[in-house]
């Protein structure tokens, strides 16, 4: 690393300010002015539009295995989604995913 302390602090400060401005953008500037129905309809899909795409590559090509697909992680992801859909409960879904992950890691470690 050739970064000086000052350069690192510049990155931290600008990244902090920039990230805040991204988060503040719409909420800060639009306030309670009405938005068009079409935009509101789009925005209702934000969580289910962002998170699956964010996680999918991590599930299929995890960095921890050097990008190789790992059956244990894929099964853990499927268990999480399956139980989440079935129970509609975040905690049960996490429990199922973590249990599958560690059971799978233990099994493949032993076999």
């Amino acid at each position: 690393m050739t970064y000086s302390a000052v350069e690192i602090w510049i990155v931290i400060a600008l990244l902090g300010v920039g990230t805040f401005l991204i988060r503040f953008s719409f909420l800060g500037l639009i306030g309670d002015r009405p938005m068009p129905p079409f935009v509101l309809r789009l925005l209702r899909f934000t969580p289910v539009a962002v998170l699956p795409g964010m996680v999918a590559p991590l599930v299929l090509w995890p960095a921890a295995t050097g990008g190789q697909p790992d059956i244990v992680r894929i099964l853990a992801a499927l268990a999480t989604v399956g139980v989440g859909l079935w129970t509609r409960n975040v905690l049960w879904a996490v429990f199922a995913g973590v249990l599958t992950l560690y059971a799978g890691l233990a099994a493949t470690g032993l076999l």
Partner: protein, 240 residues
């Protein structure tokens, strides 16, 4: 916080948020720990690593920035890459407007500072499930969700810095975050349109995975939102 003016209802909204935020200590904790370890490995000082976690509080972009700093990328590139990772939060910001837009400016600024994946998705799920919530209650709920996570994020970064590389890879902490996000999103798939959006998001994100940090995800999210909205509009059409 302004307890004298806050009604009981807002207080209970705050505590409901705290309750719903507590489970995330299990994901934010390990993630922050990893950041502390990696930042120290990369040669950052304690102050710098803590600076990231306090001033930026956006895990994925912190990892991206530290990674690129160790690769000696130029400052402008580091910033562009890390900010691209965070651009999804502009979508979060926009989607909170219908729920929090009429809150006072300082509250909207505070919510913005604390608007990361976990607080956002937990709060938006609650707002959607309970349309009758008042705006002050929504703000208090959001702050409640952030209350257990944020201090832990900072503390666990410090623990990671101090523990250094003592964390075994076998713990597979890398995969706790994907599990947590999937667990949050699955219960939100409540209509065909939502499922269509999620599927579109996955497909486009996988196809565009080689695009520079975070930009493929933005395209995927845009396509997914359009897909969800189109399917919903189509389903609402009266069967003629």
């Amino acid at each position: 916080m302004t307890t004298s003016t806050v009604k009981t209802a807002s207080k209970s909204a705050y505590w409901a948020g705290v309750r719903d935020g507590v489970p995330f200590i299990f994901v934010a904790g390990p993630f922050a720990l990893l950041f502390g370890v990696i930042a120290t490995d990369a040669g950052l000082t304690i102050g710098q690593a803590m600076g990231f976690s306090v001033l930026v509080i956006a895990g994925a972009s912190q990892f991206a920035a530290v990674q690129m700093i160790t690769e000696n990328a130029g400052i402008a590139f580091v910033l562009m890459a890390a900010l691209a990772v965070n651009l999804r939060m502009a979508m979060y910001s926009a989607s909170l407007v219908p729920f929090l837009g009429s809150a006072p400016m300082w509250q909207r600024a505070l919510v913005s500072y604390l608007n990361f994946d976990q607080t956002y998705i937990t709060s938006i799920a609650r707002y959607e499930a309970r349309p009758e919530m008042t705006v002050p209650d929504r703000v208090m709920y959001f702050l409640g969700v952030a209350s257990p996570i944020t201090p832990l994020w900072v503390i666990m970064t410090l623990v990671g810095i101090l523990a250094g590389t003592a964390i075994p890879e076998a713990w597979a902490l890398d995969f706790i975050m994907p599990i947590m996000f999937l667990a949050m999103v699955a219960p939100m798939l409540k209509s065909v349109a939502h499922i269509a959006a999620a599927v579109a998001s996955i497909i486009v994100a996988l196809v565009l995975v080689d695009m520079p940090s975070g930009t493929g995800l933005l395209v995927a999210a845009g396509v997914a939102m359009l897909t969800g909205a189109a399917v919903e509009a189509w389903m609402e059409k009266p069967a003629a």
